[in-house]
Symmetry: C2
């Protein structure tokens, strides 16, 4: 067997421990597939652990471990965007390949990190950063490499999907399910990143870059969480044949105008928000903490990838797939091997000089269908007023559901629309809310047929 | 831009034309991702085509094209196992990398072809051979490279899935749907390969080898088609919460004995057959001509991959993904680059000297749950007789459905069992069929909870 591969693991939390367990469990499989021995030589951890193989050097000096001569690949699973960034940059500078699961760090500083890695002729692999164990980075960078990607839609936050699933299946309100998710360890004590969509936005920024060949632009992702979703809307959606999921969308728009008024602009939509999708779509049936990504590309059409988006086993699987890639595929583990330069898989799927400056569209330029819930006095003219306003704005209605008045003569009217430019919808809603017969703010949730 | 990549396409049917169209449509994407120009320099075709770019050399001498100095990669999309084999071996001998969509050829002669390719230091890529556009070969060989694969279950024949979907959705009998599938071009004039499960068995042989690191053993795949499935069974299955799909299974069994009597044997099950699976499983909701593969591995757990399993666009996408891999990933497009030897992705996922001789289990050693339909005279003792026989054989019943007598006093009894060794089930059915009260052969369909 040829040269051993020496790994350093920085951070021994759930994921770091998962990687150690995976190597213990599957060492035979790893060797049979790679023809190499895979060794953890060092771990970086604040506290010494006595349950670790004593031949592995434990160090609290993470910078030293990241640069150690005894290490080929540095696995960063500390998390956060400060120390993690420092150790990764230090590892790169010292010619180490890096594997990381750190979506926040890459979404925010990936352009800088990848450029630094290319300068130093090493690779920063990040399969575990998006959708956990689902190999969506490899699929999009390599398997779909001959396709033009038109759009993707993903359930890329397991906590959010767990909450949406429980609300629908058991009729439990948001706050109640969130508490359970925290008890089960699915959600952090501070659930902001999950329920406000920030975690999903980090992942979406990465997916969009490798889909379209654009620099990482996390700050331009439109981001809406699930805190405002009520059981009432979950149930109306079901009644109309739809299901509400929290999805990230990256969509390429060719545009049919300059984006002013009611003309659509060319560019890319990056958005994370609750979305009504057809009940019978596979994506609508991905439940609990599972993640899934649906990619629509030419000429392949739609493909779906589904699995565990988090957890020690799934994340370790993705981390070690990256290690195996560095060993077998990227072919660059021998640092003196210059021959792979210029033909490897680029960090963001497209070669750096070919990244495009296609604009990211502003929220008001985006195009989606809508679910509207309008509360009005039970007045015979109200539906005519609303539909006239929508029609005047060029908004096509796909379905209407008017429920019987339930209190004080108020009736909820549910309207599903065909896709419309958001600025047009904003104007229409402004007008609807000014009607005398309207008693509340209009509730709006985006809708996508995934067609 | 560095050296161009020169392709030869052998065969200009649906898939060959699809590859040409893909390159025309997406050349800019291909260049942006690879940093290379991608050129078709030659095509091998029996008849000259006048709708092809005139700078492309057309030749009816396929052997000459496969060996041309003007070609880096040979794409074989002729089909069949005779001429296709000759041209592939000739291309390999002349140092060309090969991309093929030919499942029958690889399932039957892959061991020989891959060994020959390794001898000549070239790669034979075959993403398009299994599940069309779904990148299941890449996923299993690379993305799951750190996992121990326990089992996989796949809808890997689109024609069969179309027929099963139509039977269920529209209550149409098998023969009727088959005729439509032929009219739509989903099924061949001679549908044997699709409806008898042979095409699925070819693909399963490939999947099993890369899952477990075993040589290709197509001849040992247990193979059952869908020609015997009746609407009656489709409907009873639905009533009990299951759906019948035609699936390929590759299952690793650790065994708890030597396989004699009621002890289970260690080895691998390779089987293709109609199967009842839970209605709410995602796999049960993969409809029409779509394909999907569910993989259960440690530590990742279950992941599902779904998309178009056939058609010009999907197949061309997979073929060109292989080309992009040869350019970017396998890193061996420069034939004088010796440095990649020993660290590339092996043809069957595991390095050749590590392929294992784990036995393939015989049909009677396999373990599955069962759906049984028993027709009996409407006699009060019959259910007791049947359940006693099953119980004596150690077979656990999971559900029973007894329908009212519908003609001549016969009642169909539907029984779902927990997993049982097939030899035990054979014995039990033999006994049941000997009961005086039983009027017909017992209908048996396998059942899997996909748990």
């Amino acid at each position: 067997m040829s040269k051993s591969i020496k790994l350093a693991i920085l951070g021994l939390g759930t994921v770091g421990t998962g990687v150690i367990n995976l190597i213990n469990d599957n060492l035979d499989e790893l060797k049979r597939r790679s023809g190499r021995d895979i060794l953890i030589t060092e771990v970086g951890t604040r506290r010494q652990r006595d349950d670790i193989d004593p031949t592995i050097i434990q160090s609290s000096d993470l910078m030293a471990t990241a640069a150690s001569d005894n290490v080929d690949i540095v696995i960063e699973v500390i998390g956060g965007t400060t120390l993690a960034k420092d150790v990764i940059m230090h590892a790169i500078k010292n010619g180490k390949h890096v594997v990381t699961a750190n979506k926040a760090l890459l979404a925010e500083h990936g352009n800088e990190i990848f450029a630094f890695a290319e300068e130093h002729n090493v690779h920063v692999a990040y399969e575990a950063a998006v959708a956990g164990g689902i190999p969506i980075i490899k699929v999009m960078r390599e398997a779909l490499a001959a396709n033009r990607i038109d759009w993707l839609a993903g359930i890329i936050n397991g906590t959010g999907n767990f909450i949406m699933t429980e609300m629908r299946d058991k009729g439990r309100p948001f706050a109640d399910v969130l508490t359970e998710a925290q008890e089960l360890g699915y959600a952090e004590a501070d659930p902001t990143f999950d329920v406000e969509g920030i975690d999903a936005a980090h992942k979406l920024a990465l997916l969009a870059s490798i889909a379209f060949g654009i620099p990482l632009q996390f700050d331009k992702v439109y981001c809406e969480g699930i805190t405002g979703i009520t059981l009432q809307d979950v149930n109306y959606a079901e009644e109309l044949g739809y299901r509400i999921k929290h999805l990230g969308f990256a969509v390429r728009r060719d545009g049919q105008g300059d984006g002013s008024g009611d003309t659509s602009a060319a560019g890319i939509e990056l958005r994370v928000h609750p979305t009504l999708i057809p009940q019978n779509a596979l994506l609508a049936n991905v439940n609990g903490v599972k993640n899934a990504v649906l990619v629509n590309s030419h000429p392949l059409g739609q493909t779906l990838y589904c699995g565990d988006g988090a957890g020690a086993g799934a994340t370790a699987s993705a981390v070690m797939a990256d290690v195996m890639d560095l060993v077998r595929v990227l072919g660059s583990i021998d640092s003196n091997n210059e021959s792979t330069n210029g033909h490897h898989v680029p960090h963001l799927a497209f070669i750096p000089e070919q990244l495009s400056d296609t604009p990211i569209l502003r929220a008001e330029q985006m195009i989606t269908g809508y679910y509207l819930r309008v509360h009005a006095h039970d007045n015979p003219g109200v539906l005519a007023d609303i539909t006239r306003i929508l029609s005047d704005a060029g908004i096509n209605i796909d379905a209407i559901l008017q429920k019987p008045a339930h209190k004080l003569g108020q009736v909820p009217v549910i309207i599903l629309t065909l896709p419309v430019i958001e600025s047009q919808m904003n104007l229409a809603i402004e007008k609807i809310e000014k009607l005398d017969t309207i008693t509340d703010k209009v509730v709006r949730i985006r809708l996508d047929e995934l067609a």
